[in-house]
Structure formats: structure tokens, C-alpha cells
Subunit: 406 residues, 2 copies
Amino acid sequence: MKAVIFVVDGLGDRPDKNGNTPLKEAKTPVMDRMAKEGICGLMNSVDIGVRPGSDTAHLALLGYDPYTTYTGRGPFEACGVGVTVKPGDIAFRCNFSSVDENFIVTDRRAGRIENTSELEKELDGLKIDDVEIIFKESGGYRAALVLRGPGLSDKITDADPKKEGKKVKEIHPLDDSKEAKKTAEIVNKLLKIAYEKLDKHPVNEERRKQNLPVANMIVPRGVGQVPEIMQFTEKTGLKGACIAGTGLIKGIAKMVGLDVIDVEGCDGTPDSDFMAKACAIVETLENYDFILVNVKGADEAGHDGNYELKKQVIEKVDEMLDYITKNISKDEVYFVLSGDHSTPIEEMDHSADPLPVVLWGKSVRVDDVEKFDEFSTYKGGLNWIKGVHIMPILLDLMGLAKKYGA
Amino acid sequence: MKAVIFVVDGLGDRPDKNGNTPLKEAKTPVMDRMAKEGICGLMNSVDIGVRPGSDTAHLALLGYDPYTTYTGRGPFEACGVGVTVKPGDIAFRCNFSSVDENFIVTDRRAGRIENTSELEKELDGLKIDDVEIIFKESGGYRAALVLRGPGLSDKITDADPKKEGKKVKEIHPLDDSKEAKKTAEIVNKLLKIAYEKLDKHPVNEERRKQNLPVANMIVPRGVGQVPEIMQFTEKTGLKGACIAGTGLIKGIAKMVGLDVIDVEGCDGTPDSDFMAKACAIVETLENYDFILVNVKGADEAGHDGNYELKKQVIEKVDEMLDYITKNISKDEVYFVLSGDHSTPIEEMDHSADPLPVVLWGKSVRVDDVEKFDEFSTYKGGLNWIKGVHIMPILLDLMGLAKKYGA
């Protein structure tokens, strides 16, 4: 048996004045068929009333308790852009920013500079005291920063003043440990070095000539210590892959040892990359036991408050599911369809409203639910579960769960 | 958006031989309409199978884990009667009792003595070693006792022999700590001092003349160390009030920083203080973001095993809800209607039977439930939740929940 967890990012919603949601109104014959043939319920990826980020939500869906494994966004972002992080590393997300000689930020994104690979070289591989600096640009003004060395801590403040016209913040330790003090000192030294190396760099001299904002500073935030995470295969016995568009989800996948499959296009149908992803899922299942799929789009529509677009994205996902369910065998694959969090149109942000979930496959206890939406699935046999319950339920159905006791 | 948590104390019940409960039989058109317009479920204020006190239940409903914040009844009672307690204080409830010269209790409530303010003065403000004694009578034979000083502990036994004819118990430490030993010694010294000061007090000499039991001893029980509790406003961002009749609930409210609103009467309708409370709720909502309401009566009827009275109280509460829902806007106020625990007629005490709960307001996922009772709401979209889930769900609906992750 194999398994797929299919995450429609931002899927859930709150009813509008007419009691409708994009998912309720969307034409989703395949989702509804899966609801009819499967076992349904509600799910909060983290917990009831907890408004999750995509990162904490996906960790939970993969069976990891986010409260012990999620140390901050930095480690997962760094992992996502290809840094091979190690437990104990201190990782940050960074912006290249423009600052004046007093470190006052004049442009947080350095004029959305597009190519920072030459600037990256100035910082990557530096050594400050006994700490190695790993620095990788991740497309334009964004970058990941990793500190590797003995006696470091993530109990430090970040540098981001959040607003232009404010000074890049000095890093301070958040506790009395010598590790926090040392880490804060290293980052403060690094920021000075970064300014010295970047301000007069030819890339920036050229930008000055063109009246473009210079990328003469890095501003780290989202600090976290890379956690010790038991790898997915060791934990589950499954060879796992991840198909996702966003770097953060890829980072989570890499952190737990899933192979990230990049999808470029595929001859299933001509219709956008949704179908390319559907093809990739079917193909990847030939070589893997497990796939975590994330489909963005509904979340973005939610963040934009665009009801119609969210509905359309959900309908496209339904087409993906049509292709997938026609090309996999219910006797061989367990399929979990849900989201990572709701992104209600009225909130334009993540919410804690629970998600509909369906578990489809051989030998599940089919319930009476006949429609996949926020108003039907709560009556199903899965009741109201948490994200961390999904993997144990799947492993049990697959005959892979360890017995607890005798 | 604002929010009300409306607690009908002791609301739930077990079915009688005909399968009825006071709530099921009561005519409650407003509760039923709220169930129809809202999202329903079952709730255990503390946890499934846990038989809660009103104190632990209300802490949970306010979003505080009772297992970490509830240290005993003493601190909340003391707070409720107006002692400004501080984290670390050791607090007790006390009775004034009558004892003989060997400390054998002859009347646990000192003949239900009505005025103890003169006796209070003998004890309040004493200093024993480095510990300050704060003592406040709280109406008749009841009082609150607080010890304030360095190195104290609540790991001690209490003094209450529970029966007349038994000796006031010596206090013993419950662990090997020097704090517990010190605290036990202080209380033992205090009891001796209390007897010395009270036994010959003019108030008691006068009672002896009138053949009334003397209030010549205090008997502390319900010890607890005042916990560090994050204040409600800091935790939630909401300016909160509490409308409740009983001192214990007021104490909980004060402990978490809610303003306690005392209701004396109100010109809404002439019909008892139920309607006065209903008016006060509507008025208080003008100046506050959040109100915790507790309506006693159903609980008392349950403790008395009085089915008809419990039903009548519930019908009066329905009239309150009629007034309230007509005078607030569903677009501005989230309203949670439930109880703190069941008080079944057959038990005449609190039980762990879960409570019906409805969450009424804008943008909730309305379910199919059409009646508010123990037999209908479990089919609703809220499923079976715990008391500590209520505040996170409300804060999420109000757009005030913090995101966990990115």
C-alpha cells in the first residue's frame, strides 16, 4: 500500500451572508465522490482554535509535533533553498536591504534587486571566530543565512526594523546563556562585515550609477536552531517524496528527508501546471510509497479576498483529482484530501476554522457523507481530528503501525 | 467584534426514566433559535470524564489550563472577597468555629454568627516571624486568610476536622521542603494566637451571655499558592468584565483581571434579578469587549434534586436570552451559551456529563441542529470540545488569534 496526503493550501472558509463558501459552491464532483466513497471529518492541522502557519501545519500533517520540531521559519527556509543544514545550526531568513551609513533602512528589499549571486559570494564561507557562515541567496533580494559552530543558540532577537526609516536592529541575547550572548555577537559582527563588503561592491557601484537602491546590508529574521528531526523513512518505513511549489514547504520536506520532486510540465493535458502536478503525482507513485502534495492557489486567492478565484482554483484541483483517481488504484493507494489551514475570504489570512478532510482507500469505514465541504464532512466517521493524527491513521491502515503493548 | 460567554451554572443533566431532562423539557424558544442560527456541540469544561468544580470550569472557559493555574480554592475565594493577592501568597478559606479549651469543635460555623468584623480586626495585619497575616471576613462565619512572606509553600495539610466533636487538626507539611515546614509552623502558631485573641473577645463574651456559640477559633482549608496568571487583557487583547453572583466566580474573574460588575436591579422589566442581569449584560457590552456571565439557580436546583425548579430556572434564562439577543447585534457580538458542568437531579452534585454548547454570531458555520439540549447539540459542527477551546475559537473568529508559524 502507498499513501498520498494532498493539501489544498488555505482550503477552508467561513460562510458568506448566504451561507456559502468557495468550496461549498464550487463544482467538485470528484471531491464529492471521494467523500461518498471515503471516511470524512474535520481537521485542525495543529489544534482546535490554533491559527497555523503553513510550516507548522505541514509538519503536523507529516506526523511531527510542531511544538517540539518547529523552532522558527529560518531552518525550513534555509533547507528549502538548498542549504544542507545540520542539527544545532542557527538559521535565518534574510533580506538584502538598502541602508545609509548609519544603518537606517532606506529600502527593505533593495529595490527588489534580481540577481544577488555575486553578493552572496562575499558572505558565504566567511568565518567569524569559530563560527562558519553559510549564506545563500534564494532569488532576488531574499537569502538564507546559517551559522555553524560550537555553543550557539537561537535565543536572540532579530535585526529587522520592519519599517523603512528605522535602523537595522542590533541583535540581543534573549536569555543569560553564554551561547545566546556569543550568537548575538557573531551576528552583530557579521552585519558590520556585510556592510563593509557589500557597500562598495561593484554590483552596488553599478546600481548607484543607475540610480537603483543598493543591496548593501543583510537583515536576518525568523531565527531558529535546526532541530534534531527523525527522518521520515526511519519513522514510518516509507520512501517519501514531496511535490510542492513553495520553498517553505520544500524546506520542510527536505528537513524530514522527503525527496522534493520538481514539476516542470507534463503531457497529461495542456491545461496549466495543475495538470502537470497531477501527472507528476501519478508518476512519482511508481517509485515512492508516500507523497506529500501541496497545491497553492486557493490560499493566495483567500489572502487576496477573491472568492471567485478561490472557487475556480478548487474546481481546477477537482480536475487534478479526476486524473489522479482514474490513474491510481484504490486497492493500492490511500488518499487523504484536506488543507493545511483555512484562509477565509473575509479574513484574508489564515484562520483556525477546521478543514474538511476525507480519507479514501481500501477498507476505510465509509460513512454517510456525500459532499466534500465545511458543512457536510463534520458528520463523518473521522469526527474532529488533528493533523498529527493523519500519519498514524495511514500507517495503521497500511499495516505499518507499531503495536503499543503486547 | 465583542464576545459573551454565558454560563448557566449546572446546566446539563442525565435523562430521567422517561428520557427527559429539565433542559429538554423546558420551553426555550430562544435557546432553540440560537442553536438553529449557530454552531452547536458538546463541551466538557475541563475534560471528558472529569467532574469539575465551578472554579476549575470557569478558569478553563476563560482559556486558562486549570491544571497549571488552579492551585486550590483559597486563592480564588480570597480574591473574590476583595483581598489583593500576589503571586506566591498562600491563601485559605476559613470558617469561624466554636471550640472548647482542647480545640474540640463544638460548632463548625460558630452558630452561623452574622457579624465578625470586630473579630477580623484581631487577626488582620498580624505578623508571625517574617510572615504577614491578611485576614478578611466574607460575610458571617466565613473568611479568607492569606499568608504573605518569603519561603512559603501550599504543600501542607488543612485544619478542618470536617465534623463536630473532633479536634481542629494540627497542620503538617506534605513534603520535605523547608518552605512547607515553615508554612505549617506559621499556621499552627496563628491558630493558637487566634484562640487566645478570640476566646475572651468582648464579642464572644457577649455571645456567651446570650447562650450563643462563640466564634473563638478559625479553621482554614482549601489552601493554595496564588499562581502567576497572565492577565486576560494581556493574553487576549480584550477589555473584559464579569457578571456573576457568587464570590468564587468573582474571585476567578478578579484573579485574571476582569472587572467585576455588580448588578443591583435595572429597569428593563420588573421580573426578578434574572432580567436585571440581562440588562446589565447589554449595558456592559457598550464599554467592554468581553463578558463572562454566570447565572446560578439551575445548579442550586440540581444540588437540591429539584427537577421542576431547574426547569423553571432554565425558562427564566431563556427570557434573559430573549432580551439580550434582541438588544445586541449578531454582526457585532459572538455569543457562547453553555454551562460550567452538569448538576444532574439524580446525582444532586456536579457530574462530568458534557454540556450542550452553541456558538452564535457572524460567519460561524451554521449546522443542522435545531434544538438546544443534551440530545441534539452533539450532532452539531462543534463536535465535542473542551472548555479551553472556547476562547481560542472566539479569538480566531474575532481576528485576534496569533499565527503559529509562518
